[in-house]
């Protein structure tokens, strides 16, 4: 359930005044939610009990036909596995969000969410005027999958309770979240536990941040994002 207003959430992250919280919600197992977040917002997802699987889709809230592109997200950094510093890229050569905190390291950008996540995304998207055509492949957090040399998939699963991932919104975003089992979870009746969602106001990544210049590709993605936003804002 959501905590409204978000500032009444009892345990803000360290260093974050409660007054800066803009979203506080616990997604029940097999539930879903969505929110529009301002550029610069920090979004922290926490697998409180160790069996959450956070399926995630992101859209540019200003022009939602610009959306998460998992192919560019893995191709541009030459890295199939999401982790600290990884950009979540749109189809327009821009950064939707960056991973600025990750103590799980077990995520997936190749397998999507399967029918359970799709069903929840259809409804969550509809509440933002988006249709099934607007659902691209999604990423998921907290349940890892690895690719073997022959291309087959190996299940890693959870890194344990309490792991959190923090994303920084580099554009205003429509965020869709579903907490359902990963589609390659090998257990006959996969357990799912609650997902905690907190967001607080902040700044988008700036040129003096080491992340900005961490690679030439990411620097150009940040420059494209700033160029776009400064022209239209």
């Amino acid at each position: 359930m959501p905590t409204v207003p978000a500032g009444s959430w009892p345990e803000p992250p360290e260093g974050v005044p409660a007054s800066e919280l803009t979203w506080a919600e616990v997604i029940a197992p097999r539930g879903a939610t969505s929110k529009v977040l301002a550029r610069g917002t920090s979004l922290r997802l926490r697998d409180v009990y160790g069996q959450a699987c956070a399926h995630l889709l992101l859209y540019n809230a200003a022009e939602p036909w610009e959306r998460l592109n998992v192919a560019d997200t893995v191709k541009i950094p030459w890295q199939a596995y999401l982790g600290l510093g990884h950009p979540l890229l749109s189809d327009q050569g821009r950064v939707l969000a960056t991973v600025i905190g990750d103590d799980s390291g077990r995520h997936d950008a190749l397998c999507g969410g399967g029918p359970a996540a799709r069903a929840r995304f259809v409804n969550a998207a509809a509440k933002h005027g988006l249709e099934p055509r607007d659902l691209p492949p999604s990423v998921s957090l907290f349940q890892g999958v690895r690719v073997q040399a022959d291309g087959s998939l190996a299940w890693l699963g959870s890194a344990g309770p309490g792991c959190a991932v923090t994303l920084r919104c580099e554009l205003p975003l429509v965020v869709l979240l579903a907490d359902v089992p990963h589609p390659v979870d090998p257990r006959p009746e996969p357990e799912v536990t609650a997902l905690e969602v907190l967001a607080w106001r902040g700044e988008s990544t700036k040129p003096d941040d080491p992340l900005w210049t961490s690679t030439p590709e990411l620097q150009r993605a940040f420059e494209n994002t700033a160029d776009y936003w400064e022209a239209r804002a």
């Binding site: 192919a71 560019d72 890229l89 189809d91 399967g114 055509r133 492949p137």
Partner: protein
């Protein structure tokens, strides 16, 4: 029966009726063929790379691979493959992603997304209908630490693959115009498309 040569860097599309086959021939070798497929009667049902990967438990496409839709339904099956391995992770090149990889001086260059948009528009498809695609003849290995590569293709002149439609499908193709990496041997070349009942 349709038999057409798609020139270097050009788009192509066709309806491939259920039970018909589509044969793609890499005429000069080492040519990536970017490929999307839709249910011809409801294009909101379209190829899904993740559903395809999950159902076969493997990220590479080859003979026997079933191309699944976002609803999990079979759209096409790879019935013959002379190459052995194809990519469905790397997606299509775009003018925008080219600026990231190769720099802003490449923004003017032609790209697969431009082909998909232009060819898709003929069938009422738009940007929202473009999703992670297949790259026939492209070789994208994943190393143990997750590092991806786009390396020299496994293809050679004249090698082909054949797909069978499981339902009436609409196929969109971009004969990849990328000149900045080895996926086309830095030299895009023609392909042949053959639709047979």
């Amino acid at each position: 029966m349709i038999e057409q040569v798609v020139g270097a860097c050009e788009p192509w599309s066709a309806v491939v009726p259920a039970a018909s086959t589509l044969r793609i021939v890499d005429l000069e070798g080492n040519q990536a063929v970017d490929f999307l497929v839709y249910n011809a009667h409801d294009t909101a049902e379209r190829y899904s790379a993740p559903d395809t990967i999950v159902a076969q438990g493997n990220v590479f496409l080859t003979a026997g691979s079933v191309l699944r839709s976002n609803l999990g339904n079979p759209l096409m099956t790879v019935v013959e493959d002379e190459v052995g391995r194809h990519d469905t992770i790397g997606g299509a090149c775009s003018k925008e992603s080219n600026t990231l990889r190769y720099g802003h001086h490449t923004k003017h260059q032609h790209a697969c997304v431009e082909n998909f948009l232009a060819e898709g528009a003929k069938w009422g498809l738009g940007k929202r209908d473009l999703v992670s695609n297949i790259n026939w003849y492209m070789n994208v290995p994943i190393e143990e630490d997750g590092t991806l590569g786009i390396v020299d293709g496994l293809s050679a002149p004249g090698l082909s693959l054949t797909l069978r439609s499981e339902v009436d499908t609409l196929v969109l193709v971009s004969n990849c115009p990328q000149i900045n990496n080895p996926c086309n041997g830095f030299n895009p070349t023609p392909i042949r498309m053959i639709v047979a009942p």
